[in-house]
Each structure stands twice: as structure tokens, then as C-alpha cells.
């Protein structure tokens, strides 16, 4: 029988310290107080002093409360039963259904041997032209969605969750507004996607420590599914809240902050999560899409900055659209040559014209006279924004490419596009 300790010698922030023997680093304990029982994790050992991070927070814990060590680290079930279920950051059911305790695995496992990784090669279709055509999502990619507060990033994630061609979706919510959580749940339910989804949700009113656990819980489950030949898409929102929770704990533990209060290991902490994205040779894969809100639309803020150095590109959400210039999928070259022969050409040409359109807009706003070419560009820009960039557009890649040709034909003549003649021959819409 595990020994129970009754003497808490320090309570600071969400961290309590007890004197105990034979406790292992990272192990869990149960803290029983007047408010009920909470899990806690060992985050520092110093002689007999054991510091624990209490998942539900330290409020209401008294120095005489009971601490019982469980002798094991944090675990999560990897059972198939998880599908369709919703849990808290600590792995407790949020949907009033029974707890699942079979096939328990440890979270935060070791990283994949780089020698066993393979070059990504499979596209993930999402039905969103700004992704499929212009910045293709690739299996095993890790991509953040850089966004300002107020942008419809959660709607975007929910749409991707419904439409993406993958086997399993794992959604991790960190600091979600309760409304957003309900929106996620209801949208997925309405579209019948809930049955292939597992959700780990930490809402803004939940204890901050649970927020820290969400990515690890999601990725541990994702890893075990991927090893069982599943193509898993992990959606995380919002990683800035995760980083802020890291900051909070670090400050409580009196660590020296490095940049704007964030701990010095922010990069390593983020990388340890993002680098779980992988394509297992001979098994499934994990792809990660994570919302990162940028405080003040500042991409040099420590969280988006460190993220950018880790991820393979970014989607930049601005004014309700995925901005074609700031966004980048570093892996798109691996797949967009193999979809349809006109994919790259349509992509390049559309972006080139859109950049020209932006210039023309500037000229127009400065009161310059518009040439007939400018008029064509203006027409093009409007069509492009309406039919391609709008987030509500939902068409397959092939339809999107055809649509691109249609927009070209509506605005320009064949030679003006500067596209190679064999492609024009094949794809230019025939007048009916």
C-alpha cells in the first residue's frame, strides 16, 4: 500500500511541496482536500522535498491535506473506445459517460528516430482551395495557423476536421471559450464527424495546469492510433494559451524568464510537441494543425516566432481569409507535382495575378488612372477573392483548378496569362 503524506510545507501558485521519500520524478499523486480529490504531478525533487503541480489548482488546499503518491506517471487510454468521446485535459470524461481505463499508455514518450523518418509524400485534401491549391497540406506536416484574436480560426479548424481526408481527428482545446467548445462539439456532431473524433478540451475556466497536459494527451493517443495504421490529424487550439500556461508555471517555480516572461525552454517545449508529427514507414501518420494567436498581430512575439522556427510553414489567417502571401507550406513541393499537371502552373499564375491586383489596388487608391489592363486585374482580383479565398468555398482540388481556368478565361485572353501553350490547349475552357 502506498504511503499517505499529511504534511504540506509550502503552497505557492499551483505548486505544493511535501516531504516524502521514494518518490520518482514525473510521478502522479492524488491530493485530497475539502474541495475533493485532484491529481498532481512531481515537477521537482530536492532532498526530501517534493514539489507537485496540482492539476485543479491549489485553491482550498490546506497544509494538513492528504497526498497519496500513485507510483506512476501520467497515462491515457489508447483504446478504440475513445472515438466519439470528450475528455478534460486530465483525461476525465466531459460527456457524462464512463471513464475508459484499458490500454493505458504513458504520455510524453520518446521522440522518433530521425533515421526512421521518411520524406513526406501524401497530400491531405481539405476541400478548401486556399489550402489544397496554394499551400497543400501534406501528411506528417506540422503547421500553425497564425491568427489575430477575433479571426474565425476555430471555425476553420472545425471545417478542416469535418472535411479532411483522414481516419481519425484528435482535437485538443486549450483555454477555449466554453462557447467555442460547444460550437466544435455541435458542428462535428451535426456533420457526423464526431464518431471519428477524440476531444481533449481545456476551457478557459478550467485549472491552468490541465491546459499543459492537453497536447501531450492528444499526441500520445495520436501516436498509438498512427502505429495501428491510422492517418491521424491532430488539431490544437490555441498553442499560445499552452505557452502562457508554461510561462505561469515557470514563474511560480521561480525560473529565470528569457523573453517577455516566457521560460528559456519554450522552443524545446513547443518542438517536443510539434515534432511528434510523423509518417511511420509501414504504418499510419500524424499531422498537426495548431492555432497560434499572435498578440497584437506581431509575428515576432516569442510564441509565433519560436513556432515558425519549428513548423513546416504556416497558414496566416487575416480578415477572415487565408492570406496567400504570408502563408507557406514548406512541404507542398513534395506533392503538388503529382496531383494534376496544371496544379503548379495554376497556383503560380493565380498568385502572380493576385499580387498584380494588389498593386493595382494601391495605384487606384492613390488616384492614378486605370488602364484597360488594370481593369482586367481588378475584375480578376474580385473574382479570386470571392470564389477562391472565401473560407466558405468548399470544392475539390480538381474543381478548384477548373475554376481557376474559368476565372482566367473570364478576365484575360490566352496569351495574356503567359501560360505554356500545351496547358492552355488542354485546360482553357471551351466556349459552349
Amino acid at each position: 500500500m502506498r504511503k499517505v503524506y499529511h504534511k504540506i510545507i509550502q503552497i505557492a501558485g499551483n505548486v505544493i511541496t511535501v516531504e516524502a521519500d521514494g518518490v520518482a520524478y514525473n510521478d502522479l499523486a492524488e491530493v485530497t482536500s475539502a474541495r475533493g480529490t485532484s491529481l498532481a504531478q512531481v515537477i521537482r525533487l530536492q532532498d526530501r522535498k517534493v514539489s507537485l503541480q496540482v492539476f485543479t489548482g491549489s485553491r482550498g488546499i490546506s497544509t494538513g491535506d492528504e497526498v497519496r503518491f500513485l507510483g506512476r506517471p501520467m497515462r491515457v487510454s489508447s483504446s478504440e473506445e475513445l472515438l466519439g468521446r470528450i475528455f478534460t485535459g486530465a483525461g476525465k470524461p466531459r460527456d457524462n459517460r464512463p471513464e475508459i481505463t484499458d490500454k493505458m499508455i504513458e504520455i510524453g514518450g520518446p521522440s522518433v528516430n530521425p533515421a526512421r523518418r521518411i520524406i513526406p509524400r501524401k497530400m491531405i485534401r481539405t476541400g478548401i482551395p486556399m489550402i489544397d491549391v496554394f499551400n497543400t497540406l501534406v501528411e506528417s506536416q506540422k503547421l500553425p495557423i497564425f491568427s489575430v484574436a477575433g479571426e474565425p480560426y476555430n471555425e476553420l479548424l472545425a471545417r478542416i476536421a469535418m472535411q479532411a481526408e483522414v481516419d481519425v481527428i484528435i482535437l485538443g482545446g486549450m483555454g477555449l471559450k466554453y462557447d467555442d467548445y460547444l460550437t466544435f462539439r455541435n458542428t462535428l456532431d451535426e456533420h457526423g464527424a464526431l464518431s471519428r473524433t477524440v476531444m481533449f478540451i481545456h476551457t478557459a475556466s478550467d485549472p491552468v495546469v490541465e491546459c499543459l497536459l492537453v497536447p501531450d494527451m492528444c499526441l500520445a493517443v495520436a501516436e498509438s492510433y498512427a502505429l495501428n495504421n491510422k492517418r491521424v490529424l491532430v488539431l490544437l487550439s490555441d498553442m499560445t494559451n499552452f505557452a502562457d500556461a508554461e510561462k505561469e508555471i515557470a514563474i511560480t517555480m521561480e525560473q529565470i524568464p528569457s523573453n517577455r516572461g516566457y521560460p528559456g525552454d519554450l522552443y524545446s517545449q513547443l518542438a517536443a510537441r510539434y515534432e511528434k508529427a510523423v509518417d511511420f514507414e509501414g504504418a499510419g501518420s500524424i499531422t498537426i494543425l495548431a492555432v497560434t494567436t499572435m498578440p497584437g498581430d506581431d509575428v515576432t512575439h516569442p510564441v509565433p516566432d519560436n513556432t515558425g522556427y519549428i513548423t513546416e510553414g504556416q497558414f496566416y489567417l487575416k480578415n477572415g481569409r487565408i492570406e496567400p502571401f504570408g502563408s507557406l507550406s514548406r512541404l507542398k513541393q513534395q506533392v503538388n507535382g503529382k496531383t494534376r499537371e496544371d496544379h503548379r502552373t495554376v497556383m503560380d499564375t493565380m498568385i502572380r495575378f493576385y499580387a498584380d491586383y494588389k498593386e493595382t489596388l494601391e495605384k487606384q487608391s492613390m488616384g492614378f488612372q486605370m488602364s484597360s489592363w488594370d481593369e482586367k486585374l481588378l475584375k480578376y482580383g474580385k473574382l479570386f477573392e470571392k470564389n477562391m479565398m472565401d473560407l466558405s468555398v468548399n470544392i475539390s482540388l480538381e474543381d478548384a483548378l477548373d475554376l481557376g481556368w474559368k476565372i482566367f478565361a473570364e478576365c484575360f485572353d490566352k496569351t495574356e496569362t503567359g501560360i505554356k501553350s500545351d496547358l492552355i490547349e488542354k485546360f482553357w475552357p471551351k466556349k459552349s
Binding site: L45, G108, I119, Q255
Partner: protein, 580 residues
């Protein structure tokens, strides 16, 4: 009762252990913390009283106060010997391919394998004879190792003083740990030499006569580097830049085309995906110089961002020690570290755990001296025989937070390197690659082309930028035609010479000869006076001229098409040139 070499854990904080010991410990000594049968490698980094702080190279989960720690008495070392080439190691020199055979997809902690295959056999040819007097680093014989025809079996670097050879194995095939020679020193101490030796990674190998001035350019076949911001064999350079500016692509290009014997790539704390490209592509790509694959001349040290942080710190030292080993054979070695910022961050994490007083941005105060001593391990050296030279060139990429070069790691690096190739977001978002900023970068080394012409070209770039900025205020119509032509010339230089397409087979690599030839042509255009009636005409002319030059860049040097294209260019220039 504790063994004298043992201690026990009294504190765990992240990857830092505090250990109480009874006898003596050495700074930077390796120790193993035991969890049951599992042994976790660690290094002593601070000693206070009878307690030592250790950084653990693995996850510390599960360690308890009271767990046993075993001190080894030896410093963190690498294994040196034939068979290092083509290997893929982690930061502690564990062969990753063998690890995956053993533990599958994941890197299980506590699994350490031999860096070299000690059962492999090598064809030995003796060079020394009994009675010879030798000292550390002197060759006793050699074995062929792939592209290295003579991989010298040397007097181990740790053998101090003078030694007399008493036995050398006859020519033949031997296993790595067989006795290849026996040496005796003045005190009569006799020791055996095998093909394998160990060397502590944080101590530079100094078994050479003297360090020389690095003067010979190291041709990277990247025009903007070799012509404008050259790197010398035995020199150092750094490539700082924000994310997405193409640091890694640039490093990969350099590693492919650089004119050196051996390339060591230290992927330190960066994306695993990028290493995978190297791992999967290099065995396929042919090195035009040797006709073998690029992998044949490479060693890859890879400690990517999600691998243990302390091993990340070790990985750059492991890489540079391997480089020093091959330099000792008279070879030219290029070490590319991507990225040194991650290494510095690893130092910062540890320093924080040690609760040291922080410097700027919480980096430790000794950051500068550590960066300096790392880059100082580069250099061109004259070996003990007085005639053979070997070199290490170090190129480190830096990932400054927010792309701001004012931060401590970039600044500390700039103090010690010989060339600064600063990548700019402005150029990368304009898709001008390589995005090395032509006005902010600098180099202390000698270029492959004439210095006066470079000065002239840079002057054009500088003035072109001034005109460009002025135009943003007063508009094109407020600019004189002469100024406008200077602007067009600077853009011309940028497009046809500074920019280079890494993904084109021909343009990706430009030989020194070709650079001299083409730069001359470009400078001629810059120096030529042209006569235009108006700006529109000037713009059109330069657009067309630019196109003829970029076409030239895609043609193999001195082929028939190349010469034909040149004629087109000459004709084009003559259209508007004014002859004095």
C-alpha cells in the same frame, strides 16, 4: 556501503540531477544514473561541496532521491577510427541506424551503442618502423576508408611527450581493436596502439605544429558567397536569418557543392524533416568531384529539436572533434552547424536550472566565450611533419528571435567569425534567393575575383538602393534618367548575379572559373554608358538584357549554346552602348 566511485541522487529538476558523492569527481566527467537496469548518461557540470550537479542526456522521468549514480572518471568523449564516414550519429555519437534496428521507431532512453563497428576489418599499411621517434598525432600507418585513401592510424592524441616505436604490425588485414603498434616513452612506459582512440569532445585537438592564416578561398559555387562574401579554407562564417529566409536551403547547397574533402553536418536542434532530406537524398546524389555519392564524404550528427536538450549541447562538440580528427590527416573539412542558436538555448536552459545569474535575454554570461572557443577550433594548420596542411572551416547558422540581429547569440557570433552572410526577410519575401543581404553582409577573406571590381559593383548596389528609396518618396517621374539607370543596373546585378536558383541543375553550382568569367561580363555592363531616350526605353532594355543573362545562367559553361547566348548578349549591349 557505497562504492567509492558511486554517489546517489538528492535532487531532480528537469534534466538536472543533484548528486551526493563520497570520494572525488571531475568536472565534465561522465556518470550514469541508474533506474533499475536502465542507465542514463549524464555529465558533471558543477561541483559544490560534496554535491555535484549533472546534466542528464535523457528524460529524467522516474528517477528517485536515493537512486544510485555511477561515476566513470572519464570525460565526455567520442570514438575515433576508420568507419566514421557515411555515419549518422546522434549528439552523443550513437549510430542512429543501428539504434533503429535495435529499438524501432522510437529513441528509447538508456540505449547506447558503439559508434564504430569494432568487428570490421581494414587493410593496414605500415608507415613507421621500430626505432622511429613519434609524438601524438603522428601517423604509424594507414588504412583506406572510402574516399579517404589514407586514413592514418595515428599515435593517440592523448599520448603526451615523445615515444619510440617498438613494434608496428606488418601490412595486412586487421580488426579495429587489434594491436597495430607498440610505443615506449622516456620513462620506459610501454603502450599499445589500435585503430581506435577516444578523445574528450570539449578539448580541442592540438597535435599540429602551428596554425596558419586562412587565405585560400573555399569555393562553395554560390556566386554571392564566392564573389562578394567569400569564405576561406580554415575560416569561419555565420548565416543568421529569420525563419523562412532559407538558412537551411543555403546550408544544404553549400554542403553539396563546397570544394572540400569531408563535410560534417551538425543538425542541432532543428526540424527532423530537414535531416531526413539529407539522409534520404545524399546517398543518391553524385558528387561531381569524386564520382561517388555525397554521403561518401559526409558525417551527419543529428540531434533534432525534440531530442534531449543536453545532448544538443554535446552535438556541436562531437561534430567539431570528428572534424579535427580528419584534419589531422591533412584533409580539408567543412563543418556546418544548423543552428548554433539552439545550442545556445540549450546552454540557457541548463544555466537557468543551475540558477546562475543571467546575462542578456537570460543567456549565461559565459555564452560569448563558449561561442568564441567553438569557432576558434576552426583553422588551417601545419601538421607535425612540417609540410602537410589540413583545415576545418566552420559555418554556423543562427536563428535570432524575431529575426533581430541585435540579440546576444548573433552578436557574440559576429565578434568571432570571418564572414557574415546575413539573410534578410525582405529579400526572401521578394523571392530573391539566396536571401543574403548584399549591403549588410561582410567578409574578411579574399574573393575569387578582383577586389576593385567588387568595390565597384557594391557601389552600384548601394547607390541603386538609395535611388530606389528616393523613388518611393518622389516617384519615378521625380528621378533623373541617370539615377534611374543606376537603379536599373543595380537590379540587373541583383537578378543575374546575386540570385541563384538552387533547384536548377546548372544554375545551382557555378565554378570559380565561371564566376570570374561571368562577373567580368556583368561588371562590363555596369561600367558601360548607355544612351536612352526615356525611362520606359531604359527599363525595357534592361528587362531584355536581364533575360538574356538569366538564360545564360541556365546553360552549361562554355558549351556551344553558351557561346551562342553570349553573342546575343553582346549584340544586345551594343544596341544602346555609347562608345567614348
Amino acid at each position: 556501503m557505497l562504492d567509492s566511485n558511486n554517489g546517489y541522487v538528492v535532487g531532480v529538476n528537469g534534466n538536472m540531477l543533484t548528486v551526493e558523492f563520497t570520494s572525488s569527481v571531475t568536472q565534465n566527467e561522465v556518470a550514469y544514473a541508474k533506474i533499475g537496469d536502465l542507465k542514463l548518461k549524464a555529465e558533471v557540470i558543477r561541483v559544490r561541496g560534496n554535491r555535484a550537479d549533472l546534466q542528464v542526456f535523457e528524460s529524467t522521468a522516474g528517477l528517485k532521491v536515493g537512486d544510485e549514480v555511477e561515476f566513470t572518471k572519464s570525460l565526455l568523449s567520442v570514438t575515433l577510427g576508420p568507419g566514421l564516414l557515411k555515419q549518422v550519429y546522434d549528439g552523443l555519437q550513437n549510430p542512429l541506424n543501428k539504434l533503429s534496428e535495435k529499438s524501432g521507431f522510437f529513441l528509447q532512453r538508456g540505449v547506447y551503442l558503439d559508434a564504430l563497428d569494432f568487428d570490421s576489418e581494414w587493410l593496414f599499411t605500415p608507415m613507421a618502423a621500430p626505432g622511429d621517434h613519434v609524438s601524438a598525432g603522428d601517423p604509424l600507418g594507414y588504412v583506406p576508408e572510402g574516399i579517404v585513401e589514407k586514413h592514418y592510424i595515428m599515435v593517440p592524441f592523448a599520448f603526451r611527450g615523445n615515444w619510440e616505436v617498438t613494434y608496428v604490425a606488418p601490412a595486412g588485414t586487421y580488426k579495429m581493436k587489434e594491436c597495430m603498434a607498440r610505443l615506449r616513452n622516456e620513462r620506459g612506459e610501454e603502450r599499445e596502439v589500435t585503430m581506435v582512440q577516444e578523445w574528450p569532445v570539449k578539448v580541442p585537438v592540438t597535435c599540429y605544429k602551428e596554425k596558419l592564416m586562412a587565405t585560400k578561398p573555399l569555393i562553395t559555387q554560390q556566386r554571392i558567397i564566392d564573389t562578394f562574401f567569400p569564405v576561406a579554407q580554415g575560416g569561419t562564417f555565420c548565416t543568421p536569418g529569420p525563419f523562412g529566409a532559407g538558412k537551411t536551403v543555403l546550408q544544404h547547397s553549400i554542403s553539396r557543392y563546397a570544394d572540400v574533402d569531408i563535410v560534417i553536418i551538425a543538425a542541432c536542434g532543428e526540424r527532423a524533416g530537414e535531416v531526413v532530406e539529407i539522409l534520404r537524398e545524399y546517398p543518391e546524389l553524385v558528387d561531381p568531384k569524386t564520382g561517388r555519392t555525397l554521403m561518401d564524404r559526409s558525417i551527419i550528427i543529428c540531434n533534432t529539436s525534440s531530442m534531449p536538450v543536453a545532448a544538443r549541447e554535446a552535438s556541436v562538440y562531437t561534430a567539431v572533434t570528428l572534424a579535427e580528427y580528419y584534419r589531422q590527416m591533412g584533409l580539408n573539412v567543412l563543418l556546418l552547424a544548423d543552428s548554433t542558436s539552439r545550442w545556445a538555448q540549450a546552454l540557457r536552459e541548463m544555466s537557468g536550472r543551475l540558477e546562475e545569474i543571467p546575462g542578456e535575454e537570460a543567456f549565461p554570461a559565459y555564452l560569448e566565450s563558449l561561442i568564441a572557443s567553438f569557432y576558434e577550433r576552426a583553422g588551417l594548420v601545419l601538421l607535425n611533419d612540417g609540410k602537410t596542411k589540413g583545415s576545418i572551416t566552420i559555418g554556423g547558422s543562427v536563428s535570432p528571435a524575431g529575426g533581430n540581429f541585435e540579440e546576444p547569440v548573433t552578436q557574440a557570433t559576429l565578434k568571432v567569425v570571418g564572414a557574415f552572410l546575413g539573410l534578410s526577410r525582405e529579400r526572401s519575401s521578394a523571392r530573391r534567393f539566396p536571401a543574403i543581404h548584399p549591403l549588410e553582409s561582410w567578409s574578411h577573406y579574399k574573393s575569387v575575383v578582383n577586389a576593385d571590381e567588387i568595390k565597384y559593383a557594391r557601389e552600384i548596389l548601394r547607390r541603386g538602393q538609395e535611388v530606389n528609396q528616393m523613388m518611393k518618396v518622389v516617384g519615378e517621374e521625380g528621378t533623373t534618367l541617370d539615377d534611374f539607370v543606376i537603379y536599373l543596373k543595380s537590379e540587373f546585378l541583383d537578378f543575374v548575379y546575386l540570385q541563384q536558383n538552387t533547384f536548377d541543375e546548372v544554375d545551382a553550382a557555378s565554378s570559380a572559373e565561371r564566376q570570374k568569367y561571368c562577373f567580368n561580363k556583368v561588371v562590363n555592363v555596369l561600367k558601360t554608358r548607355f544612351k536612352f531616350e526615356n525611362k520606359e526605353q531604359a527599363r525595357r532594355f534592361f528587362q531584355e538584357l536581364r533575360l538574356t543573362f538569366t538564360d545564360l545562367n541556365y546553360l552549361p559553361f562554355k558549351t556551344e549554346e553558351f557561346i551562342k547566348q553570349e553573342e546575343k548578349i553582346n549584340a544586345k549591349i551594343q544596341e544602346k552602348a555609347v562608345h567614348a
